[in-house]
């Protein structure tokens, strides 16, 4: 076993192998689409391609019903029309492998050895979930690559690049906007207790002074540079596409996601509640009530863990997805790509990790069963789906608790590796 797993520790094998496996899946997917009734390619890929076709005809990609993505994605995929239908899939699997490479680079920058970094990367590169998602034509790998590149640039203190990539990430998908607070807290001037005026008159420091000191810490050259560059990229792209496509662009790319209330079954614990109350007067208040736990946890995590951006962004995204009013399986990739950054600092044993993974899959399976019977067999399993959604939330929270409890901060982890 050690002999086989040692191959995972060799980057010259791991990265090419992961690309070849994904390419094989793309080729197989093309064969399945042509010969079988159940198609391999995801419906989203057809949506992207149809939107790209509209662009080639001089129209707006938003004319494609259910195209709820940034127009830049459809522009990138115009070679699907001009060259070959599978161009987009090749691009997505390349971004998928790039995500793995960025994870490797980040871990090496954190002082992890190449061998350990490769083993950790293999959790992404040889993971069937991202393999399947990207080879089926979902564009999540573009976002995962952008987010990881942003974190890598922040870790390497290349703030201009980090800001530009962050602005592009938020333009393409709105969820990275939650990282703004921890990034701001991380880049602000860190106040060391017991230094300066605070050390001279500690008893006389009031709330007003503390608040002013806290706010003043954000007036920092690095933070301002990051904010300005990110804003230029985000609003610049927004202005460009608004000029080209008007209100439809704003609605389909951003407003739809902010106000989305999908009453159809999904992993969210709020699904059944929102379905039953969709037309009632409580609907708006319940939507607000659903937002409170998500917001509270995001603020808490930002404050507690902003010094370790990898952990902070992972917890942010996992909490955002788990407590969101809509949750589909594609959202899992948003935080799964950040998990390898956290794993080297966990004191969990391999068996504990495997047990948590099995628990996570069990939670999904408990939901997928009744959902299948509802959607494809017509059985009334709404109650079972609701309960399974709540169970999945409980399992996700349990796993996050285990990660938080067993996480050793970077300095301690480095000392631990040194002591060994």
């Amino acid at each position: 076993m050690e002999r086989y797993t040692s191959w995972f520790a060799k980057k010259h094998f791991l990265f090419p192998a992961s690309f070849i496996i994904r390419l094989a899946l793309v080729i197989y997917g093309d064969y399945q689409d042509r010969t079988m009734e159940v198609k391999y390619t995801d419906i989203d890929y057809h949506v992207f391609t149809d939107a790209a076709r509209f662009i080639t005809q001089g129209e707006s990609p938003c004319n494609r019903s259910t195209y709820r993505y940034a127009p830049v994605l459809a522009w990138i995929l115009t070679p699907n029309i001009y060259l070959n239908f599978t161009f987009g899939k090749i691009l997505f699997i390349l971004c998928d492998v790039l995500t793995g490479l960025l994870i490797y680079q980040y871990l090496c920058l954190r002082g992890i050895s190449s061998e350990v970094a490769c083993r950790v990367c293999s959790l992404w590169l040889l993971n069937p979930l991202p393999m399947g998602v990207s080879s089926r034509g979902n564009a999540e790998s573009i976002l995962t690559a952008l987010v990881l590149c942003t974190l890598l640039c922040l870790e390497g203190r290349r703030l201009t690049w980090a800001a530009a990539l962050y602005g592009l990430s938020v333009h393409m998908k709105i969820y990275p906007v939650t990282y703004a607070l921890p990034i701001a807290l991380a880049l602000r001037t860190q106040v060391t207790p017991g230094v300066g005026r605070e050390a001279v008159h500690p008893q006389r420091r009031g709330w007003g002074s503390s608040l002013w000191g806290f706010l003043r810490s954000f007036l920092n050259g690095e933070l301002l540079l990051f904010a300005v560059v990110a804003a230029i990229v985000f609003f610049g792209l927004g202005a460009l596409f608004y000029h080209m496509y008007g209100w439809d662009f704003l609605h389909e790319t951003y407003l739809y996601h902010l106000t989305r209330r999908d009453i159809r079954h999904n992993f969210s614990p709020y699904f059944y509640m929102l379905y039953l109350t969709a037309d009632s007067e409580w609907s708006q208040w319940l939507g607000l009530a659903a937002f409170v736990p998500q917001l509270a946890l995001l603020l808490l995590v930002s404050w507690v863990h902003h010094r370790d951006l990898a952990l902070c962004c992972f917890l942010h995204t996992a909490i955002f997805v788990s407590f969101n009013k809509v949750c589909t399986s594609q959202y899992f990739l948003w935080y799964l790509c950040l998990l390898p950054l956290v794993i080297p600092n966990l004191s969990l044993s391999t068996w504990q990790g495997v047990a948590l993974l099995a628990l996570w899959f069990t939670g999904q399976g408990a939901w997928l069963g009744p959902a299948y019977f509802l959607e494809f067999k017509g059985h009334n399993t709404f109650l079972a789906i609701w309960l399974a959604g709540l169970l999945f939330l409980v399992i996700n929270c349990f796993i996050l608790v285990q990660i938080v409890v067993h996480y050793r901060p970077v300095a301690q982890a480095a000392q631990g590796r040194k002591d060994k």
């Binding site: 159809r264 039953l276 709540l390």
Partner: protein
């Protein structure tokens, strides 16, 4: 793009031996149309079968007008994919389709299915359309499902060689697009049918509205407990380090 005009002047004739453009009246009246739905759940196949007696005229254009209720929809993009494949499904929809709206927030629509009968070999026309069910409002009674009925389609015929409307005085004449490309309007003859079944019924599961209070309380309670437990652990861990 989708608009077409229906005009239905109706005249009656008792002459059973009338031959219209080489098509026997008895042949027309012997046509049987049936509709069935295969599959279960929210994704099904609506199969329409048209049985003709032997001696089909040389070339005959067939148009089946399906009037579908608001609880059902077809995906025009899926249909376009099927159109490109071997199935050659020629369908024209009379209005844009909202793929995500629940049933009570949308309306019914018509799907025009085009086919061509060629020669005496074509005695049976069988066309399958993928349909999808919409979410319906929750039920506040004992019903666990709603019933959605799909009626049999209207059958319209058109001959390329015989377009003179005066030959069809005893039938309804309908103006409709000539083909699924909707580039021109033609006159079609609506055939009164001996329909084998009047409608197809689909059962679509719905949520139980009587549980709304339990669901709200249960959901908010569990999410509050999870949020609190996670917050405590995050804060406690922060204090320890």
């Amino acid at each position: 793009l989708y608009n077409f005009v229906l005009t239905i002047p109706v005249y009656f004739s008792d002459d059973k031996d009338q031959n219209i453009c080489g098509i026997g009246r008895q042949w027309l009246e012997s046509i049987l149309v049936s509709t069935e739905c295969n599959g279960n759940g929210f994704h099904r196949e609506m199969v329409t079968t048209v049985k003709f007696s032997p001696d089909v005229p040389n070339v005959l254009n067939v148009l089946l007008v399906h009037k579908l209720p608001r609880g059902i929809y077809v995906d025009p993009y899926q249909l376009a994919t099927l159109n490109d494949s071997d199935s050659h499904l020629q369908i024209l929809l009379d209005s844009p389709i909202n793929l995500e709206a629940p049933a009570h927030r949308t309306g019914g629509f018509s799907a025009l299915l085009y086919a061509t009968l060629v020669g005496q070999r074509s005695k049976l026309l069988k066309k399958s359309i993928p349909i999808h069910c919409r979410y319906h409002e929750p039920s506040f009674g004992d019903q666990k499902a709603v019933i959605v009925n799909i009626g049999s389609p209207d059958l319209l015929l058109r001959s390329e060689t015989c377009n003179d409307g005066s030959n069809f005085k005893s039938y309804s004449i309908v103006d409709a697009p000539c083909t699924a490309t909707n580039s021109s309007i033609c006159s079609w003859v609506q055939i009164r049918l001996n329909k084998e079944q009047s409608h197809v019924s689909l059962q679509i599961p719905v949520g139980d509205g009587s549980l709304v209070i339990h669901v709200i309380c249960g959901t908010l309670l569990v999410t509050f407990i999870c949020c609190s437990a996670l917050s405590l652990k995050i804060w406690k861990h922060r204090v320890l380090t």
